[in-house]
Symmetry: C2
Subunit: 397 residues, 2 copies
């Protein structure tokens, strides 16, 4: 399904062009490419938009999206909580000043010693989705609050999550009964898929949650929390609804299916808080045609799928691109990274159009690249270094 | 196309089990998983097998497969040359003691300053596949030998390379004529696709090379080299022909299509020299079933696509796996990595079978993992560190 790159999204959501501060940074510093620069004012803005749209939710930032200390420290100061996947991520949050009571170990796949590591540091919130993992938690994390991840089908997400994680609602009920019998506070989580562009996905998942909660209450168990997961979008080529639309759907579904007596509602935004804050600058290394009569150009950049633009793989995440020649006549391009690796292709089927004037040496900007870029970078495949990153301190606190 | 994991390859090629030295290393050191350990004796063995199969070829190790200093230093001592993709890879070869005359800059996508960097350090062999890149080389690399990469269709390769690189034979002829007119020695290269299991792929490519060489000779230009590229296989689940089979086909095709008057024949093995030398040890973190009546188990390892087993993506490279319970009854599994990322799945459709006795805490070995593991590893996604690596010095020099 080839989707045309839209220079301007076709709905009312903001275009998310580079901020003035990022423009000034790029202008003032002739830094070696590729790199990403993140305007933390945008992170503050997104945090507040999310808090306003979901006033009942505690925000647990999924730090895998970008665990830079500058981001974690900022979010600590805003009162955020944190979703982590490993002992190293626990440490990153603690180093940024987070209280361990604000850390959720959301990975359903944990080594015994990693559970113990987090528990000893004060973490009291853990995810699971099967008997074997629940066994570990009952043994190693007494009195912790345990939440079970139910599977959803991921419909509507650009990066669906349905296969690897989650159990059926029926299994979840049985597992949570067992956890409650061992004295744990219990809850449910789900994930509607990353870059989820249909808010109604949460409604379907919350209906399922409501059903499990009914079953639990029938057995005398009061659910302690519901975790809405992540999936809130960044601004790529495909238009996305505004955050208030997500809030409207989710708040209504919570009221309808879950009711008022669930003490805690959690949300785990990752991409939403940081993607739009980042701009990646990369240099054009080569522009070529396969033959003289072919109007398709191959544009090779000094950043590719091994140096941070990993989410272009499969071409479902379609980054918006700015060039020094925007406004001039354009033509079809395939975009690729700088390595000798044939898999290092960004967009071959997505029908990108870029200016005909584009040439080697030009610097171009890849927008909304604050999430899942620095951490997806390889250690240095083909001798190209890991993606560099810079952070502009927040001024709108 | 689901292919059953074969515990023993169904042809006469060696099974490539861990060597005695690797077994002893694993036994003696209870190292933190995941890690890969490489037996350099196997690299020596593969180097000699390749040299024997292709006696006319200069071996240019494609260091992207694994640029560990121990490997580069060993290959320098064996008389190998090197294929590089970036200035950093030039530096790695020089640091290992390679003479710059033995370095080929095989990346067809190069910044102007990177060409200059390599040229100033003595590199005199460069690849290109289009006018714009040839322009750079004519200007920046006087008297260097320039070879043009022609496109092949990659048929028969488990990881085809056909889309990103290479021009048509007709374009190659025109480009090489232009390079020769500027005083350069010229040649041709191609790449039949990584993990190429059909030696006949080289025959088709060499027929194309022969045709271009004829055209060049008709214009009074004597080709200086033909570069056979890489693609020679490691031993994964699918059986592969022995190296002598590749040699037989390639030598015959060289004689038939290229003739005796091409001074230099180059080969660029990467995977072939190092893949089978490595064993990756990883720990089982969790074994679960989606529901009680499902016989499919999900097996989560502490190594996944973000920590070195990247080539499992798409499931075309199917690593062989050894467990402590081999020989016992087995059942179907999906294999996944330890991150919260739903894309971190190794094998979901390849119908892997593993012992029913497998459980969390078991250490298992992923075989033939010496190539494209350490360098494909991310910097630390989800807080999981980059893949560690160890090298056992060669004793069979």
């Amino acid at each position: 399904m080839a989707v045309r790159l839209r220079q301007v999204p076709q709905d009312a959501t903001p275009v998310c062009a580079p901020t003035e501060r990022i423009e000034a940074f790029l202008e003032a510093n002739n830094l070696e490419t590729p790199f990403v620069v993140v305007d933390l004012d945008i992170v503050v803005d997104r945090y507040r938009q999310l808090a306003e749209a979901l006033p009942m939710a505690e925000i647990f930032y999924a730090i895998k999206a970008n665990p830079a200390p500058a981001i974690l420290e900022l979010l600590v100061s805003l009162g955020s909580s944190f979703d982590v996947a490993s002992p190293a991520e626990v440490d990153m949050c603690l180093a940024a000043g987070a209280d361990p009571s604000r850390i959720s170990y959301g990975n359903t796949v944990k080594k015994r010693r990693d559970i113990t590591y987090a528990y000893e540091r004060g973490v009291r919130l853990f995810a699971f989705d099967c008997d074997a993992e629940l066994d570990k938690l009952i043994e190693l994390a007494p009195n912790a609050t345990l939440f079970c991840r139910v599977a959803t089908d991921g419909t509507g997400a650009d990066w669906p999550l349905s296969r690897k994680f989650g159990c059926s609602p029926e299994r979840a009920t049985a597992l949570l009964v067992r956890a409650a019998e061992k004295g744990h506070q219990v809850g449910l989580s789900f994930h509607v898929g990353s870059q989820q562009r249909d808010p109604v996905a949460w409604e379907a998942a919350l209906a399922s949650v409501g059903h499990v909660f009914e079953q639990l209450r029938d057995q005398g168990i009061s659910p302690a929390l519901v975790n809405l997961g992540g999936g809130f979008p960044g601004h790529y080529s495909n238009a996305v609804p505004a955050m208030r639309e997500y809030g409207r759907v989710i708040n209504a579904a919570l009221a309808r299916y879950v009711g008022d007596d669930v003490p805690r509602v959690l949300a785990e935004p990752g991409r939403y808080l940081v993607a739009d804050a980042g701009v990646l600058q990369t240099e054009v290394v080569l522009v070529s045609r396969r033959s003289l009569d072919d109007d398709l150009r191959w544009v090779y950049l000094d950043c590719g799928v091994y140096t941070g633009l990993t989410e272009a793989l499969g071409e479902s995440i379609r980054f918006r691109i700015r060039t020094p020649h925007d406004g001039g006549p354009t033509g079809r391009v395939c975009l690729a990274g700088p390595t000798c690796d044939s898999a290092d292709i960004l967009y071959e089927h997505a029908d990108y159009q870029l200016p005909l004037a584009l040439e080697a040496g030009d610097r171009i900007e890849v927008l909304s690249t604050g999430a899942y870029t620095t951490t997806y970078s390889t250690v240095g495949f083909n001798g190209f270094p890991a993606l560099r990153d810079y952070y502009l301190p927040a001024q709108n606190l």
